[in-house]
């Protein structure tokens, strides 16, 4: 016989509107072993919590059922409530009558009936619950940050400044990310490099940061507090421990590759640093454009290198790092606009995408900051087309958030650097940010022409060779227009990195419809994920501007710190265990477990489960032919009893 207390929450009208809560409490009182049942307006409020604690003592309760919102929302709150009243936290059961009942029906009869069934199931299950003891594990104090754009850099610096050791992993040969490609940042028109490069240098100099550039994560093992991560150091063919960054090699190199950093607008050497302020300032060799690797002859770089740092024999190597928490800040790509053939990107040389234009403005870019087109001429008229592939049901439904503002920035810079007429083709002007509306107003006075209407098509002029025609509907005058221009700038959708699926798999992250990493909760847990100890920051979570990215990075650093600041932490007690008396020794469990938690004890001829490795999925319990494995908190008896209760009503 157990003594169960049932506490039904109204959640204001969130639940009470479509579930008769007092009837539900009365119903609960009639169920087996229930000694007290109450309903209350807000069970999670202090008076609600005190009511539960009071009743635990008054009625000597040994099980508590809270009938309220999803367990993913308040299970931990109520676990603490009952624990503080002296009850083991695993003796709590949550019945989800909000997200999975009251919010998904508008019929109070249906809502009440379903709630009764769910509550009945919970009572059946609660009677079979057992107290469990949380496992306490040691926590590794170090943190890994994946991606060294502004988000990763900021998070790494913040953590390093608290005295924590940080491994900053970057797949490119330099840190900096997209922000390092920009010339100016909106709305203040700060020089991007001026505010970013000091931070990049801080990373390089910081004694607590281990910078792992040209590296990729290949394997993640372990769990919160104890991640065991394998990183591939891609072969640079330059020994960076010997290189003194004289860069004589890059001058002599005859090889030519396409400059990724300059968005393919120009060529670079085969041995190169991506841009003058790159960190580290040491070159790598691109195998695909190196004359020696392609033709077997050359090695000029080797001849000019006094440090003897060139190493054509270098291989990829693997590094193993153990950390307690991870911040994923892998950033974004621009949508490939080539498939949107109506805009002619990749077909007409006068059509550019936004990142290419960022490089044209940049004094360290392919044109040394002069706005000249691929044909070498300065444009006399420029059309900037917003929302290419975003806010578009055919491609990406989401708003990419920063395009309106950077398009305004482009217009300003075009006006500053050329005498061109500049046209903005926009759907809506979204200027929600500090100083953004003001920046828009400023642009309105800079003689930029705003046309409210999405650019529909770009074609080549038949009358003036080389010129382009932008077709659009001006939705203010409801007139269709054709505008001849020299240059078209597309502001494409911001999309997740091409390899986001690999990252999601490595770190067990969920992704949303667009592929951005999903937060644990969109409002109250925006930086943590469903994987304990893995946090996200920056555009990999969703499009955002630099201030928001930096704020998220600082938040993620604080979240990671809450884990690694402690020596020890508690883990869920819901692991599996083997009853040796009924183990038949088949070793099914050993074969299926993805974490290697069960091992066969050859002496005793039974399987044993290492609790530290077990994550509590329950797979072993369901493959055990003799039911010797007990998945704690989800035992066969508990699950079947709940089902029985659910099916009775």
């Amino acid at each position: 016989m157990s003594r169960i207390g049932v506490f039904v929450c109204h959640c204001g009208l969130n639940i009470a509107k479509t579930v008769r809560v007092s009837e539900l409490a009365e119903f609960a009182a009639t169920l087996p072993d229930v000694v007290v049942a109450r309903d209350y307006k807000f069970m999670c409020s202090t008076p609600g919590q005190e009511m539960i604690q009071h009743d635990i003592k008054k009625y000597n309760l040994d099980r508590v059922i809270v009938t309220a919102c999803s367990p993913l929302m308040h299970e931990n709150t109520f676990r603490k409530v009952i624990e503080n009243a002296g009850l083991n936290q695993y003796l709590l059961t949550i019945v989800n009558i909000r997200e999975q009942v009251s919010w998904v029906t508008s019929d109070i009869e249906e809502g009440t009936a379903k709630s009764k069934a769910l509550l009945n199931g919970a009572v059946y299950r609660a009677r079979l619950l057992a107290p469990l003891t949380s496992r306490v594990i040691d926590v590794n104090p170090d943190v890994m940050v994946i991606g060294a754009g502004i988000a990763g850099i900021q998070a790494a610096l913040e953590l390093a400044n608290t005295g924590k050791k940080v491994y900053l992993v970057e797949k490119n040969s330099t840190i900096g990310g997209h922000m390092a490609q920009f010339d100016k940042t909106f709305p203040t028109l700060d020089c991007s490099a001026c505010i970013l490069t000091p931070k990049m240098d801080n990373v390089l100099q910081h004694k607590n940061i281990s910078m792992l550039t040209y590296c990729e994560v290949t394997e993640v093992k372990g769990y919160v507090g104890n991640f065991d991560i394998t990183i591939k150091q891609k072969a640079r063919y330059v020994d960076h421990s010997k290189c003194n960054a004289c860069l004589a090699c890059t001058e002599k190199c005859p090889g030519k590759g396409i400059s990724e950093w300059d968005e393919s607008l120009v060529k670079r050497k085969a041995i190169y640093i991506p841009f003058p302020q790159a960190v580290p300032q040491k070159p790598i060799i691109d195998k695909n454009s190196c004359t020696y690797f392609l033709k077997g002859k050359c090695r000029l770089c080797e001849k000019v290198c006094e440090q003897k740092a060139i190493d054509f024999e270098q291989q990829d190597s693997f590094i193993n790092v153990k950390v307690g928490a991870v911040i994923v800040a892998t950033g974004y790509d621009l949508m490939d606009t080539k498939p949107l053939v109506q805009y002619g990107y990749g077909k007409y040389p006068g059509v550019y995408n936004a990142l290419e234009v960022e490089r044209l403005f940049n004094s360290a870019g392919p044109t040394a900051g002069k706005v000249t087109q691929r044909d070498g001429k300065e444009p006399q008229s420029i059309a900037i087309l917003h929302c290419i592939g975003s806010r578009d049901k055919n491609y990406h439904e989401h708003c990419s958030r920063v395009c309106c503002m950077y398009s305004l920035k482009f217009a300003h810079l075009f006006k500053e650097k050329t005498s061109a007429d500049v046209y903005q083709f926009y759907i809506d002007m979204r200027a929600a940010g500090k100083g953004y509306e003001e920046f828009y107003n400023r642009l309105l006075e800079e003689n930029v022409k705003f046309i409210r209407g999405k650019g529909a098509r770009v074609t080549q002029s038949t009358e003036e060779p080389g010129r382009l025609i932008v077709e659009a509907e001006d939705t203010i005058t409801s007139k269709f227009m054709k505008l001849p221009v020299d240059m078209v700038v597309l502001s494409p959708a911001i999309v997740p990195r091409a390899d986001y699926k690999d990252i999601a798999r490595l770190f067990n992250l969920s992704t949303d419809k667009q592929g951005f990493f999903m937060e644990r909760h969109p409002k109250i847990a925006p930086l943590s994920t469903m994987s304990e100890g893995i946090f996200i920051a920056g555009v990999c979570q969703g499009p955002k501007d630099i201030p928001d990215t930096v704020a998220q990075a600082l938040g993620a650093a604080a979240e990671a710190l809450t884990i690694v600041v402690k020596d020890k932490m508690e883990l869920e007690a819901t692991t599996a265990m083997v009853n040796p008396a009924s183990c038949c020794g088949c070793q099914n469990c050993v074969r299926v477990c993805p974490y290697g938690a069960p091992a066969f004890n050859y002496e005793k001829r039974v399987s044993e489960i290492n609790e530290a490795l077990c994550k509590g999925c329950g797979l072993c319990a369901s493959v055990c032919p003799s039911s010797a494995i007990i998945a704690r908190h989800f035992t066969n008896e508990q699950v079947l009893a709940e089902m029985e209760g659910l099916m009775e009503f």
Binding site: S70, Q100, T105, S510, G616, V623
Partner: protein
């Protein structure tokens, strides 16, 4: 009185249960015939759970897990997928309507899909009528 099917749902914590919560958060409406049991992973589901549900009078059973390849526990749902396919075959072999068992991969961001699947499956079970073959009569 018209036939109101009883449908038992078994959903994994990380994907389908969270997706079901999302359906609620976004206030999507779907039929209330489904009662969900939460397990940590779809791989926890032993075929006996399915048979037992039908014995207990379930007219349909809906199992939800993460998309294959996206399992929170790496490979759990791959085992679940194979095992549930076999379960369905056994039900069919025993002359039971296999359409009463449905397995769906619904991610945490697919609240829409959850609501659609529940509506569709409920309609399908309504068409099949009450399940009496495995139900243990009192």
């Amino acid at each position: 009185m018209s036939f109101e099917p009883k449908i038992l749902g078994i959903a994994c914590n990380w994907c389908t249960y969270t997706g079901a919560d999302l359906a609620g958060t976004t206030r999507l409406k779907y039929p209330q015939n489904l009662r969900v049991v939460r397990v940590m992973c779809s791989s926890r589901i032993n075929p006996s759970f399915i048979f037992r549900a039908f014995q207990l009078g379930a007219d349909g059973v809906l199992v939800g897990g993460c998309h294959p390849g996206d399992c929170h526990y790496n490979t759990g749902n791959l085992y679940a997928r194979r095992r549930l396919a076999t379960t369905k075959k056994i039900l069919e072999f025993a002359g039971f309507e296999p359409g009463r068992l449905r397995v769906e991969w619904i991610s945490a961001s697919e609240g829409n899909k959850f609501a659609e699947v529940v509506a569709e499956f409920t309609a399908q079970i309504r068409n099949l009528g009450p399940q009496a073959k495995l139900k243990i009569q009192e």
